[in-house]
Amino acid sequence: MKYNIPVFLPIVLLVMAACGSDEEREGVVWNNIEKQLQSKFITAKEGDTIRLEEGFFAFSRSLILDSKKNITIAGAGIDKTILSFKWQEEGAEGIRAANCKNITFQDFTIEDAKGDNIKVTDTDGITFSRVKAYWTGGAKETNGAYGLYPVLCTDVLVESCIAARASDAGIYVGQSDNVIIRNCLVYENVAGIESENSNNVEIYENTAKNNTGGILVFDLPGLTQYGSDIQVYKNTVTSNNHVNFAPKGNIVGIVPPGTGIMLLATRKVEIFENTITNNRTVGTALVSYELVNAMEKEEEEAAGSAANINNNYKLDSLYNPYYSDIYIHDNVYKNKHWFPTMKSDFGKLFLLKFPFRTPDILLDGFRPPHEEWNICISNQEKTRFANLDAPGSFENIDKSIKNYSCNIPTL
């Protein structure tokens, strides 16, 4: 035997860590109220509250609420009422609500859905209050995509919720209007909170910790609507350095580990009074779809794929791949890390271009060709800044934040 003990110790520790995370549900006896509860969802009358007792409940197929008005689903509290979909055999989400008006989910934990924990689609008036949506077995690529997922909705309120370990976004609002996400905790997701193609969105007083990217504001081509008028404020966005575990083919796969706030191709966005700390790659990044496209293209060429079918966003003639009318002010940036994480191309690029300390605020430098850009950064003169000049192959990086000193009336 030529190996000695110190070589083995780390392996033993690794094994312990690898299987340690499922223990929190060990020995639980799961109650079964599946048909009763699904029946209640079906027969609920306008104004009903469906109460869930304290306890552990397991389900084998999605619970579906459809075409209902003014219904509240209320548990006994986070970590008191626990709905598990770990042994789910049918349906792509834990709970699904569709075509409803004024639905409230409150005071329960929902975990381990095969797909999304709660998806709400085509609904006017949806509130999530004190709901915890997560996956018990740690952050894994095989976890579902979204924790709380309202899409194609209006009047969305997500408050005092916890979302963790989603392989896409913990709290994701897509193609929706009039959205408030506040006082939530999101951790160990690829994206902590993501607003995509949504309008009139306020994201405030949330804590985003140890995600790959803390808060994302994205606009993508080819969807039912585009997004704008978004405020991100008074959030704590810290140590979002988690490895990116999104399955390939998903847009959040582009987010470099170590990203605080990332804005993609969206207009009229105000980012202010946030505390953005210890995100290793970048505090706040403004990125155009041109950059995403260029990165994808490069990757495909490197992979030897001649397909080059990724210019599809140009087929959506109404899509605007640029960000503009962006106002960033009064944020606090701190970064104890001197070097970016090397887990992404961005990290490597930054190490090359910013050998000591990566930027707090960064623009890719792609500008809309025919309209005003309007990028204003004020009240944070000491912030480390860079315009990457990606269109010019990073030749003329502009590090002067003063060139962007201006004000825009707040939204």
Partner: protein, 357 residues
Amino acid sequence: MVGVVWTLLLFQMACNEKESAKPIILKEEEFEVEYDYPALRKLSEYAFFTGTMHQLNPVSNLIPYELNSPLFSDYAEKSRFIVLPEGGKMIYHPTEVFDFPEGAILIKNFYYPLNLTDTTGAKRMIETRLLIRKSGTWEALTYVWNDDQTDAFLEIAGKNIDVRWVDANGKSQKVNYSVPSLNQCKSCHWRNEEMTLIGPSARQLDKSNELYPGGQNQLIYYRNEGLLAGIPNPTTHIPLPDYSNPASGNLISRARAYLEINCAHCHRPEGPAKNSALNLLVSETNPVAYGVGKTPVAAGKGSGGRKYDIVPGKPDESIFIYRMESNEPDIMMPELGRKIAHQEGIELIKEWIRNMK
């Protein structure tokens, strides 16, 4: 040293044990659904069939019908009937499903032939789904057949039933068949804020039916019998081919027909999956919109690590095939209505993609 190795093994064993440990999930207590659900409790109360009920001998006002390309439902076979109220007519449409008069009922019986290699025709009835035209909308109901096959009973919350049969190759097959909950019905039948039919369009009904006098074409029969209003002469629809029959259309038209009937009830501009921007109606002419080189929007791990819905010439790099082949709830497509992969359908779509330039 040996001690360290043992420790390591012990940890691994502990770990494996935890992985395989069976969860303790209690059986749900029997409960009486206090449903004041406004529907008949038993299928027999509708008096659709005469004689031995499970033989499905229709009373005279039931019109049997078939579709050119039916939806795949775990190899279950279906027997379909239309009931029109006295003097009521369907109204023709060149692309969409027909309009039906108040009081119309569509009946779809799901069953498995016990043995496809014999000729006894013995079958097991599973469920009978009804769509009833009431107050200007469609109401969906399903009735599950009892073990004695004497009647079927209203089921609102869904149910799983183990089914076994012998396939045409003499091979024994089984499936944990899923009867949908009434809300799951809506997952497919909901469009433009209302319940909608999926099957009975001119494009689907334009076929001969041996159950009709002289084995004539269904549409012609309806017209001659005064059951269908507004049908122009000549007709203006383009019939859908039978995707399983190469004589009925070329590869492209059969593949597109398959995708339309199996996917487009959701994946169309007004359907529940419109957020994905994928449109699988045959009428869609933009290749990106029907998946060619299209990146997924919210597929999650449904992407299978593949980047595009369809990569021309490369079925095994296309997300379509990955999701059609999967039986995992969060990966498989369609999301509902099947537990097993449809091999013949997968082959058809693979062939279509393989031949795409």
